[in-house]
């Protein structure tokens, strides 16, 4: 417990040093285009009481959440099919292994072309980013479950349904969560990227808008806010992961 | 935990240290190797104070999988002992070959530790510890994690290189049979405070033999004696 307090105090000290360095750099004027942290804090305070920040936040988070949920369903279903059936693995493996290396931002122009400048485009790009970690982790877990418990399922004469509910579902949960953790972070990045590039909504758009209008404190306020949001999303998923019963998790796919 | 503990070892002698778990066997070895500093007082070997790991010392860790460098081949792992001792590059090759032959690990130079069995890994660690020809070899339960047959083979291999290279060996183990089989003398430690309770000379003739030596009356007598001593602690 003492060491916990110590870590928090030291960590906050580190953040304080960082902000101080930022303040000094801004005050010295040696770096043009960097507002003082105090100005950014004021701007953030102003934005926090405004509608703009909250509606942008709600938009970005909602899109991220929807995209992550869709990616989770797609990733789990396809991953389980690929991992549980060697034939399906061979049939779909080549498509998966060529599509997953397309950098998700590359899809932005295509999606804009096909779907236009709306929320649908944001969701599509984010799903394309978030689906791979889930899919690959679930596929690897199901495959290892299939080979590891092959003898057991046969000796216990488990029906296909029982195999699914007693072995694959509980066994694949940790891998799903690991995949979702990476996937949700990617989804957030892509949603913001799409908003910065094309779709005029959400936090990404606000950063771009403030930057183009040269409202520097406001732009930095949004950047800091987005950073904090990233930390919150990450922490929430960490907590969810820890809340899972500590079963002997299977090794997750690393790539 | 250890207070005022002292015992003597003759040059070239093979001494085993046994004792109940938690008696500070490993701590003692780490203090002697300079890996730990005493909270108070000092550690002396031959009258010289130990301040950090001394030269002229080989150390074999219990956990072979973690003590070897997994990114180096077997030969390079042994060579590590020479690099550290500052032996010029051109002299290293033959020395590595020589020590690998002595520990009965021919033809493994190119294997990585991860490709070797536990027994082979531990032979490799012994080779690394001995390649620079230290006069003292400290061994921390080196065979504890190996199966019985591998362990017999490694014990005999160790006695063989010890006989050829004649380092002073301090061997920590919790296995009384192993201690008697290997040692010239067995030192029994107790805990709280850790101290030497007995020193038992082993009068079995050498070279020893896993079958015959262990069947001798002397072996059985020593085993009984050591067991009773430890049980009474």
């Amino acid at each position: 417990m003492r060491s916990r307090v110590r870590a928090v105090v030291l960590g906050l000290g580190g953040v304080a040093v960082l902000v101080l360095g930022w303040a000094l750099a801004a005050a010295s004027g040696s770096v043009a285009g960097v507002p003082a942290p105090a100005d950014v804090a004021t701007a953030l305070g102003g934005e926090l009481t405004s509608d703009r920040l909250w509606s942008a936040t709600a938009h970005t988070l909602l899109i991220t959440l929807v995209a992550t949920a869709i990616a989770a369903v797609l990733g789990v279903v396809i991953g389980a099919v690929v991992g549980m059936s060697p034939t399906m693995g061979r049939l779909l493996g080549s498509s998966i292994n060529s599509l997953r290396f397309i950098p998700p931002v590359a899809l932005i122009p295509v999606v804009l072309l096909v779907m236009g400048f709306g929320a649908g485009s944001e969701v599509t790009v984010a799903v394309f980013a978030a689906v791979w970690p889930v899919l690959l982790n679930v596929a690897a877990a199901s495959e290892s479950l299939r080979t590891r418990y092959d003898d057991l399922t046969r000796i216990a004469r488990l029906s296909p349904l029982a195999r699914l509910t007693k072995i694959f579902v509980p066994g694949a949960i940790p891998a799903t969560v690991v995949g979702l953790r990476v996937g949700a972070a990617l989804a957030l990045i892509l949603v913001i990227a799409v908003e910065m590039l094309a779709v005029p909504a959400g936090l990404g758009h606000e950063v771009r808008f403030a930057g183009d209008a040269l409202q520097l404190p406001s732009m930095y306020a949004y950047i800091v806010w987005i950073g904090l949001l990233g930390v919150v999303v990450n922490t929430l998923i960490n907590l969810a992961q820890r809340a899972l019963p500590q079963r002997g998790a299977l090794p997750a796919a690393s790539r | 935990m250890i207070e005022d503990l002292s015992f003597s070892v003759r040059p070239g002698e093979f001494v085993c240290v046994v004792g109940p778990s938690g008696c500070g066997k490993t701590t003692l070895l780490r203090l002697l190797a300079g890996l730990l500093r005493p909270d108070a007082g000092e550690i002396r070997v031959d009258g010289t104070v130990v301040n950090g790991p001394p030269e002229d010392l080989g150390f074999v860790f219990q956990d072979h999988a973690r003590a070897l460098l997994p990114w180096r081949t077997a030969a390079k792992n042994v060579e590590f002992g020479l690099e550290a001792a500052g032996v010029p590059r051109r002299l290293r090759g033959p020395m590595v070959q020589d020590v690998l032959r002595r520990v009965h690990l021919p033809d493994v130079e190119r294997l990585y530790p991860g490709q070797m069995s536990g027994g082979m890994q531990q032979r490799l660690q012994i080779a690394r510890a001995l390649v620079a020809r230290p006069s003292i070899l400290l061994m921390d339960e080196p065979f504890a994690a190996l199966d019985a047959l591998t362990r017999f083979a490694l014990e005999d291999g160790l006695l063989e290189v010890w006989h050829e290279l004649a380092p002073t060996v301090l061997f920590v183990t919790h296995d009384l049979d192993e201690a008697i089989y290997l040692a010239d003398r067995v030192v029994v430690l107790r805990r709280n405070p850790a101290n030497v309770v007995r020193e038992v000379p082993v009068a079995l003739e050498r070279p020893r033999d896993q079958g015959r030596s262990r069947a001798q009356d002397e072996f059985v007598r020593l085993r009984f004696e050591l067991f009773e001593t430890i049980r009474s602690l």
């Binding site: 953040v15 061979r90 049939l91 060529s98 950098p103 990227a193 732009m219 930390v231 | 150390f59």
Partner: protein, 251 residues
């Protein structure tokens, strides 16, 4: 025979999908202005390759991503190892590092546009900024995770600080560092493309935005395919390097 079967199975689904797509475009089930047929995309890609613009842009993006990644490695590995070597340094920097790692780093691009201008350095600085954190944390984790026994091995061999770092700590921390580099490689390509799309300063990102603004759909799809190939090649290169470095043995 099984080999032929395997290759057949691997090709079946992609070929079927491509065939369906072609059919859909030809038959007009989808609007070919927005979703051109694969044959049209291949044709457009071939034309772009012929006039050299596509190859040049591909090279530009690849070099940017790799150079930014390299700079990030050069900075992050030593700093990360220093931080990892001390518990206090780790505790002092941990929240700040986690903040930057968790932050969607593409957001700093607008700020960098003002800080460093819309030149060639922008993409490089943005890539480096985004790629540095996973490697830094990987190095910190790598060093913190070094087995005690290995540290003892370095000590009983009387290695000095430099030798201990080069011969023991760095190789032992390498798996952690490589995990970071692998994450950063993907990030580097994404940030390179976003920066190019936002500034129009060369590379595949600019090319694709330009093609889209002229509604040259086949070109857009063709460039996206090339981006996928670049991603695939960079990843294969990484896997190859890892194999060569024998990292599988350390694992």
């Amino acid at each position: 025979m099984t080999r032929v079967l395997r290759i057949g199975q691997a090709l079946a689904v992609p070929l079927a999908l491509l065939g369906l797509w072609e059919l859909a475009a030809q038959a007009g089930w989808v609007n070919p202005v927005f979703v051109p047929a694969p044959s049209r995309i291949a044709e457009a890609g071939y034309d772009m390759l012929q006039d050299g613009g596509l190859l040049e842009a591909t090279g530009e993006t690849t070099v940017r991503a790799l150079l930014g990644l390299l700079l990030a490695i050069v900075v992050a590995v030593p700093v990360g190892m220093l931080i990892g070597a001390s518990r206090i340094a780790d505790e002092v920097t941990r929240p700040s590092l986690e903040f930057f790692r968790a932050m969607p780093t593409v957001t700093v691009i607008p700020a960098l546009m003002i800080l460093v201008g819309i030149g060639h350095t922008l993409a490089l600085v943005a890539i480096m900024f985004a790629a540095v954190w996973p490697i830094l944390l990987g190095a910190v984790h790598g060093v913190r995770g070094i087995e005690r026994t290995l540290v003892d091995v370095a000590r009983v061999h009387r290695l000095g600080p430099v030798a201990a770092t080069l011969k023991v700590r760095l190789p032992a921390a390498l798996p952690g560092i490589v995990t970071g580099v692998r994450i950063s490689l993907a990030i580097a390509l994404v940030v390179a493309l976003v920066a190019e799309m936002m500034t129009g300063n060369g590379g595949l990102g600019s090319l694709v935005i330009e093609a889209r603004s002229r509604y040259r759909s086949a070109d857009v799809f063709g460039i996206v395919v090339v981006m996928g190939v670049v991603g695939l090649l960079l990843n294969s290169g990484m896997v190859w390097l890892e194999k060569r470095a024998g990292l599988a043995r350390i694992g």
